[in-house]
């Protein structure tokens, strides 16, 4: 077995969440890395859509921005941004939205707006971008981010993007809404919302990670599934492909 980092563990696990043939609206950064790894390994026909209008794109290197030329050049076609959000996302063509975030709470609500008070922010974050409507108009949502007490908080400072609401009932009775976050993949574990309460619950620990590791990195009293699984380790070929992808990417971006 090859050595691997916790970041690689996270990316490989996130990639495996995507099934071949799924249509995935991809967020930049970790989701993009995972989605492209999926495409280069077990899911060659996964359809990747970026909000820049690039439809069914197959970038050779990872884009730095959501609209790098690479995305357009390797796309099936590129549409205007209003069409992307109207026809493809809101029109119900996206199976899964793959998002990152700055903060997430126990009901999988996402905050990418700010830390502190809205009118006197301690830290101003970039804002919502595509996430608010990706999270509600995609069939389901996968979230991936690194585990830390700063990121995993009991209540987000601001609900930029709906998970299950501040009480877990934010999607109840809302017409034409997706299932919401169905899994959260971190560098320590995989979480899923409890079927009843919608509270995020650890369902799988990555190899070598203990319950205490997760408890310490989580800002609320995190629960564990009764049938706690152990995440499958990355395969050598997954790591090879991921490392080649990242090396190609670094060479390309350094040489610009």
């Amino acid at each position: 077995m090859t050595d691997y980092t916790s970041g690689e563990m996270m990316t490989v696990t996130a990639a495996r969440a995507l099934e071949n043939g799924m249509t995935c609206f991809v967020g930049i950064g970790l989701p993009s890395e995972a989605a492209n790894l999926a495409r280069l390994t077990h899911a060659p026909d996964v359809v990747l859509i970026y909000e820049s209008g690039t439809l069914q794109t197959k970038p050779e290197v990872l884009p730095l921005s959501i609209g790098d030329g690479e995305l357009c050049e390797s796309a099936l076609t590129t549409v205007a941004v209003p069409e992307m959000f109207r026809y493809w996302l809101q029109g119900g063509k996206v199976n899964v939205g793959f998002l990152g975030t700055a903060q997430i709470d126990r009901f999988a609500n996402l905050n990418t707006t700010l830390i502190g008070d809205y009118h006197d922010p301690k830290v101003r974050l970039p804002g919502g971008g595509g996430a608010p409507e990706i999270a509600t108009n995609a069939g389901e949502v996968f979230i991936t981010l690194k585990h830390s007490k700063r990121a995993f908080v009991k209540d987000v400072d601001f609900v930029t993007t709906l998970g299950f609401g501040r009480d877990g009932k934010g999607r109840d009775g809302v017409p034409n809404i997706g299932k919401g976050p169905t899994r959260v993949i971190t560098d320590l574990c995989v979480m899923k919302p409890d079927p009843e309460t919608k509270e995020l619950t650890v369902v799988s620990l990555h190899p070598g990670v203990s319950r205490d590791d997760v408890i310490e990195a989580t800002g609320w009293d995190i629960r564990f599934a009764k049938q706690l699984e152990s995440t499958a380790m990355p395969e050598a070929h997954e790591l090879d492909i991921l490392r080649e992808l990242k090396a190609r990417t670094d060479r390309k971006h350094a040489g610009a």
């Binding site: 609209g67 357009c72 809101q90 830290v123 970039p126 804002g127 608010p132 709906l162 610009a256």
Partner: protein, 280 residues
């Protein structure tokens, strides 16, 4: 009918102090040369609209041109924060600015509605988000057919929109290709528009890559066409030059500090002429 103007004259004529300005280009084709000219001409109290403020508005904000920013994602893509935007919002440097923030879906629809001459855009949006609590321009309407609650936002109707594109022809018709973003919508939604281009060709419809459905904005729907070679740098122009991702990373260092930012602005904008920005 589009007039061919210098970058200086186009900005001087159409960008007034206090105006509402949209400089668009979704990652691609960001009109940096024009943005720098706005900085050089020391325009003030602008309401700046852009889905992704990007470096171009970070520079305008840091230079003191902005009164208000309307946006939906204000980061340095793939890198991190826009430090000048943050400094203005968090600490009021160089002065306090107002912000009004939307989601991408809402802003894209608002540009579309502006191009369509409508006062509002309707979307299935903002469900469960707290953005409507802090943006009084987000309202909700009820569908008269289904009763569904849908979000409504005012359309974007700027005083002037500025975009960059690949090329124009002698009639001022403009070709936009690649990631077309909300470029066409921005131009059509605005009272006036400036389009900077990499080059002028004789006739777009006789170019070898002409296609019956390419995105061409007719010259009669544009106020001014300006030649600005590399006018989108460090953003990029599909078919001409790549995005300078290294500069986007360097910006994180330049913009983090007020002094290095000011020095950069002096060296690269104030002391550059508009012709150094590719103005023909």
């Amino acid at each position: 009918m589009a007039e061919f103007l210098s970058l200086h004259d186009a900005v001087a004529r159409y960008v007034d102090d206090g105006a509402t300005v949209a400089m668009e280009g979704f990652t691609h084709l960001i009109p940096f040369a024009a943005g720098h000219e706005v900085v050089r001409q020391k325009k003030r109290d602008l309401t700046l609209i852009r889905m992704t403020p990007d470096l171009i508005y970070d520079q305008l904000i840091g230079a003191g041109c902005a009164k208000k920013v309307i946006f939906s994602w204000g980061g340095n893509p793939g890198v991190g924060s826009l430090h000048r935007l943050r400094d203005a919002v968090e600490k009021g440097w160089p002065h306090k600015i107002e912000i009004l923030e939307h989601s991408h879906a809402a802003m894209a629809c608002a540009f579309e509605a502006g191009a369509a001459g409508l006062p509002l855009a309707v979307l299935r949006g903002y469900v469960g988000s707290e953005l409507p609590n802090v943006n009084d321009q987000i309202k909700f309407i009820e569908c008269p057919f289904t009763g569904e609650r849908l979000a409504a936002v005012p359309s974007v109707r700027p005083d002037v929109s500025i975009v960059h594109a690949q090329k124009a022809d002698r009639k001022g018709n403009v070709l936009v290709e690649g990631i077309v973003g909300v470029q066409k919508e921005a131009v059509l939604a605005a009272r006036h528009s400036i389009v900077t281009v990499e080059e002028i060709v004789d006739d777009l419809t006789t170019q070898p890559d002409y296609h019956p459905n390419t995105c061409i904005i007719p010259g009669w729907a544009i106020s001014a066409v300006v030649v600005a070679v590399k006018g989108a740098y460090p953003s990029y122009t599909h078919g001409y030059y790549d995005r300078d991702n290294r500069f986007y990373k360097e910006w994180d260092v330049i913009a983090r500090d007020r002094d290095t930012f000011t020095a950069w602005l002096d060296a690269n904008v104030y002391n550059a002429s508009s012709s150094a920005e590719g103005d023909a």
